[in-house]
């Protein structure tokens, strides 16, 4: 490709209230360049103090999410050519709705604490000495679990959700998607406690079905639909007095 140069605006410092701001860098444009490649170039060739996070570079670990031209994205699998503006603009900021540690790195603790609060951990009754559980791939439960199981915990949905911004205690799309996946895991024994955990004000009923999570999830998961499933299941359980 030609020797063109990208002008990239990258967030530096903490959040805006402690003086964080965008700085512009010139980065050589390359073929098949990802947004993560751009950030890595800046750190390796221009300013080694730039902080950001990544691990796998192939869309598996979920650590590289940032806000690219205003939208949350996984940066290792986002090609520059797909997101760059007509004017060639590229703006890279930390994920929204999470505390900024420094530059492009956010503190993911609130995000994962909410997974724990939504009882996102599998709880089974069997041991490794027992035989495999047999779950038909065609059963409705297995299908519903399949729909959400590929989540990589990147936080893109969380950083896109208005309700997370409006109500900081809201568990958020990823934790609720995880809860819904486990509610549909027929081996799991923690169903009742989990439904209780997601039934409150911070849970599924706070979702306004804006669909930003579903629109942005890089894995094509639809947390909006999982949350709708939780609303139905919680409602039914409450009506039966099971909660």
């Amino acid at each position: 490709m030609s020797e063109t140069t990208l002008q990239v605006r990258i967030w530096r410092g903490g959040s805006a209230d402690v003086g964080g701001t965008f700085q512009t860098y010139d980065v050589p444009r390359r073929d098949s360049q990802t947004v993560l490649d751009v950030v890595t170039h800046v750190q390796r060739a221009i300013d080694p103090t730039l902080s950001y996070r990544y691990a796998c570079r192939v869309g598996m670990c979920g650590s590289c999410a940032m806000t690219v031209n205003g939208k949350a994205r996984w940066t290792c699998r986002t090609h520059v050519s797909r997101v760059i503006g007509d004017d060639g603009a590229l703006e890279i900021a930390p994920l929204a709705n999470l505390p900024v540690v420094k530059d492009l790195a956010t503190d993911m603790r609130p995000f994962f604490d909410k997974w724990a609060a939504a009882r996102g951990r599998f709880q089974g009754a069997q041991t490794r000495l027992d035989d495999f559980a047999r779950v038909s791939p065609d059963s409705p439960e297995r299908r519903a679990a399949n729909a959400g199981i590929e989540c990589i915990g990147c936080g893109v949905c969380y950083g896109s959700c208005d309700v997370v911004q409006w109500r900081p205690e809201f568990l958020g799309p990823a934790a609720l998607n995880r809860a819904w996946t486990l509610v549909n895991d027929v081996r799991d024994t923690d169903r009742r406690e989990r439904l209780r955990a997601v039934a409150g004000d911070a849970g599924c009923h706070s979702c306004h079905t804006q669909g930003s999570c579903t629109e942005r999830c890089p894995k094509g998961i639809a947390p909006t639909l999982g949350i709708a499933g939780l609303k139905r299941t919680v409602g039914r359980a409450a009506a039966k007095g099971e909660l």
């Binding site: 967030w11 903490g14 959040s15 805006a16 209230d17 402690v18 806000t67 031209n69 205003g70 939208k71 949350a72 900021a93 930390p94 994920l95 929204a96 709705n97 999470l98 505390p99 900024v100 540690v101 956010t106 503190d107 519903a144 729909a147 950083g159 896109s160 208005d162 911004q165 306004h208 079905t209 804006q210 669909g211 930003s212 579903t214 629109e215 639809a222 909006t224 639909l225 709708a228 499933g229 609303k231 139905r232």
Partner: protein
Amino acid sequence: MTMRRNDFRARNHPAWWAFWLHRVSGLLLALFLPVHFTLLAQALHGTAALNGLLRLTDSALLKVAEWGLVTLLALHLTGGVRLLLIEFGPASGLRKNWIAGGVGVALAVGLAFALSLLA
């Protein structure tokens, strides 16, 4: 440590606009309802009082307002059906076809109402 907040770029997608339309049409309808009921309540004070008020509705401005109301109602209704489908229907994405269809139907209803006003 505080957080970054999203701007319009993060919200600029069909499902978010559908949410916005539903919220705004709902709020406007909620504002209108007290007026509507006050008017209806006039019927309790006899036909003269009601007729006096109803004559007001002949004015052009109120006609436009009525057209707006009907359109808002149609928008809110189709948007509501979409939400019910997402929440209770078989899983099928964000049902963006309903957003487009709903807006189309609502505008058509509004136009039909406008035509009937002119007739």
